[in-house]
Amino acid sequence: MRDKDVRIGVYICHCGTNIAGIVDVEEVARYASSIPGVVVARHYTFMCSETGQNMIKDDIKNLKLNGVVVAACSPALHEVTFKNAVKEAGLNPYLFEMVNIREHCSWTHTDRRLATEKAKDLVRMAIAKVKELEPLEEVKAEVVNSVLVVGSGVAGLSAALTLARAGLTVYIIDKRPVLGGFVTRLVNIAPIGIRGREFVKPMIDELVEMPNVKVLTNAEVISVEGGVGNFKVRIRQRPTYISDLCTLCGYCEKACPIEVPNEYEGKLTMRKAIYLPFKEAYPPKYVIDENACTKCGKCIDACPVKAIDLSVKERYIDLNVGAIIIAVGHEPYEPDKGEFGYGLTRRVITSLQLERLLDEEGPTGGRFIIDGKVPKTIVFISCVGSLIGNKTTNACSRRCCSTITYDTLKILSKNPDSHIYILYRDIRTYGFEEELYWKALENGVVFVKFEEPPKVEVMGDKIMVYVREATINKNIVIPADLVVLFVGMTPSNAGEIVRIFKLSRTADGFIREAHLKLRPAETPTEGIFLAGAAAGPKGVMESVIHGAAAASKALALLLNKKYILREPLVAKVDEELCSGCLICVGMCPFNAISVKYVGERRVATVNPLLCMGCGTCAAACPSGAMEHNGFKDKQILAQVRAFAGVVV
């Protein structure tokens, strides 16, 4: 296309003697200048030096170059250097190509003639490509300086607070009627020993007072469009039925005839269909359990301030945000009935129920009793639902070992003569939390290692726990008063989240991060970040950090920014040629390709803000309609043809 008036400058670097010692740089320059379209070919000691760069800049200006080839070291080192030089001289930087004649040539070869021939080939191939290159402009996109945080657990709160404190507009939503997430069910956050509800209260208090924060409870994202810097999100908010007039007087609750198990008390007690989840709950008002409520209307009559309206319908809210943070957390594993005796007696409980029994504000007022009696022999079974049990994630839940040891110490402080057995696979009190394990040992907690999961049998008053102790290789039977199943973390609604946000999951079912090691707070989709246990089992402190890290990514993207610039080396559709076959759509791992209509015709279209520029779609496109900027078919083919010696 640029064939006729192409004017290329070729610059061969000596790199001291690194290149010139093996490659005959003069010969390469001479050869390059013989290729049609090349106006100037020079060689110099250090092309990357100020002098070398000026040489290129001057030629671009004086000789009106419209293409530049630099043959020097690896583009990994100096592509940006030369691109900038080209740009500073007023030429589009995408009309530049770098040839690696150091790492790939002089440093790996010893034969001067062969190395020189190779350098000539590589230069010829680059010239051929430059002839086909086209100027490209960086993709500039306006950004919306607001962030949506999905989930109001510790991770979400941490992220939202950070963003709000820095001045961005923050929307935080939760599918539940109250903020705070899973941690509100915990009595002890190991190892700091703060009640969960007290831990999140100051965070929520600060957050809801900020003018730049909008909180939506009972709300879920139902669709997401657009891309980084400008997402269009549709949210469905289920009705709460109760207005802010609510004074928490509680008359409605008394009037309500419906009773259901209270999930906020580990289902150890009952609550009404209209209820206050817990004392510190935000928003501070009663909520109605839609599934339980019969809409009998008794609460309406009882409410002295007329705060209840059962005719409220769900509503849809459309938001425009620059970034999204997914912090949907996890769900504790719920054992099946009969699994390790669970559900057969009130004295086989989960670790979540244990939390409630230890809480001063729990159903027992913090007294550690069950069925009116102090349990004397207590058996903990770890890894239920993570590594053992009916349904497992086959992944360690990371926090249970520390929490178990912490809980045993708490029980021992209440009832010092308890006999406690912890049945475990491996004790995984990593880091400093090892010290909790030591403390538990010192306090007489008995650790029993199993290979085969233990068996639990309910026999009248006693619960018999059978386990083969692996280190002494003996079957033992423990008659227990209480069995606590330490349940693992399972992904919370991850399937739905993955579908809506076009993300993916790892083998354990949790949401996949952009890179497990180095990009743990990002998803592969730019502008969508990840925080907390949504990405996999995490402790409270780890979730705080994860939330802040996700916030950091959003801050870097949006804070005081009007635009974002993206490399234009992305895919682009020639709509004239596209048949709408959709092959490309399935190729894109980033969901950057969608379908649009040109008149009647359906064609593919690439969102340049989502495209990461791999070119897989272009290779697959059966029509040749999809092209990869900077790596177009004709550009690569030019290199291939020049490889064989054909100068085109």
Partner: protein, 328 residues
């Protein structure tokens, strides 16, 4: 009234389907026929080579040639027609890229002859090879034209001005091409005329039934697959070549639940139709394990060349089975 358009029609290695489509196309189009003057059409009328030789150079307006170049005689004839014609059109897949007979390029000519004359079942005496020269019972010595070592598309031998694709081109395609030619507004030389510039999917009614992402877990073959004719065949695992093949036939095959086999050939941007077909089919095979992929390919595509180069092998970048030279 403008002078009639002088047309020559000729066939090379071909099955006759192209002629049928031509007759179908114009038999009830009096207005077109009346505009044409056929100066050479050996398949239908008694013309001889000498008739063409007698014509002045460039006196034929359009020569429409179908079939691939397989015989020495073909070479002579097309060179002659080129000389006598203003415009030469490669008509149909064989003339354009070699077509199905072009698959013979996978084999050495001796293998082909031996297959045809010695191996396949026949009622006649087996193993009698065509001889360049023979004497009839009457004692007349006749000469048979020589078979070329490979089949060539028309443009490998002479300059071709336009291509009309298809096996055969549908009557609609031919009429559209004629319309283009008669319009006087001629497209750039070497263009494909009468067909679409885009792939077949565009005109296929089943394209609408595709899900967002076209990914398959297995490649299936039609002989043992129950096809749902109301759904995109690709999605059902059938390697339909609609996405990679030029449109213009109105999706005749997929419309009735039969996959596109690629007779309308490559699109303008293809440099190797078969390789491009390979690329998209392999791309949508949503498997990551090497052995699983191999198994799926072995089961689903036992003969890749037969699938992706059914009509295009002689025009592909490699043209033949390159090992053929070594049989000599």
């Amino acid at each position: 009234m403008s002078p009639k358009v002088r047309v020559a029609l000729y066939w090379l290695a071909s099955c006759g389907g192209c002629e049928e489509s031509q007759v179908d196309a114009i038999s009830d189009k009096i207005d077109i026929i009346s505009n044409l003057e056929i100066v050479f059409w050996p398949v239908a009328m008694d013309f001889k080579k000498e008739d063409v030789e007698k014509l002045p150079d460039e006196s034929i307006d359009v020569a429409v040639i179908n079939g691939g170049v397989r015989l020495k005689e073909h070479v002579e004839m097309v060179k002659l027609l080129r000389r006598k014609s203003k415009i030469v059109i490669a008509y149909g897949s064989c003339a354009s890229w070699g077509g199905i007979p072009g698959l013979a390029n996978l084999y050495d000519i001796n293998e082909v002859l031996s297959r045809v004359y010695s191996e396949v079942p026949t009622l006649q005496e087996k193993g009698v090879m065509p001889r360049p020269k023979s004497v009839t019972n009457e004692g007349m010595e006749i000469e048979l034209t020589e078979v070329l070592p490979m089949l060539l598309p028309l443009d490998a031998v002479i300059d071709v001005d336009y291509y009309i694709p298809g096996c055969p081109p549908t009557p609609e395609t031919f009429l559209k091409a004629l319309e283009t030619l008669l319009s006087g507004n001629l497209p750039p030389r070497k263009s494909v005329i009468g067909a679409s510039t885009r792939a077949l999917c565009e005109e296929c009614p089943l394209n609408k039934t595709k899900p967002d992402k076209v990914l398959i877990k297995e490649i299936r073959r039609i002989y043992n697959t129950k096809i749902d004719p109301s759904k995109c065949l690709l999605v059902q695992g059938i390697p339909c070549l609609g996405p990679v093949t030029r449109g213009g036939c109105n999706a005749k095959c997929p419309r009735v639940g039969s996959p596109c086999i690629g007779c309308y050939g490559p699109l303008d941007k293809h440099i190797d139709y078969g390789a491009k077909a390979i690329s998209f089919i392999a791309s949508i095979l949503d498997l990551n394990d090497e052995n699983e992929i191999k198994k799926a390919l072995d089961n689903g595509i036992p003969d890749p060349a037969g699938l992706v180069h059914k009509f295009t092998l002689p025009a592909s970048r490699l043209k033949v089975n390159l090992k053929r030279g070594e049989h000599k």
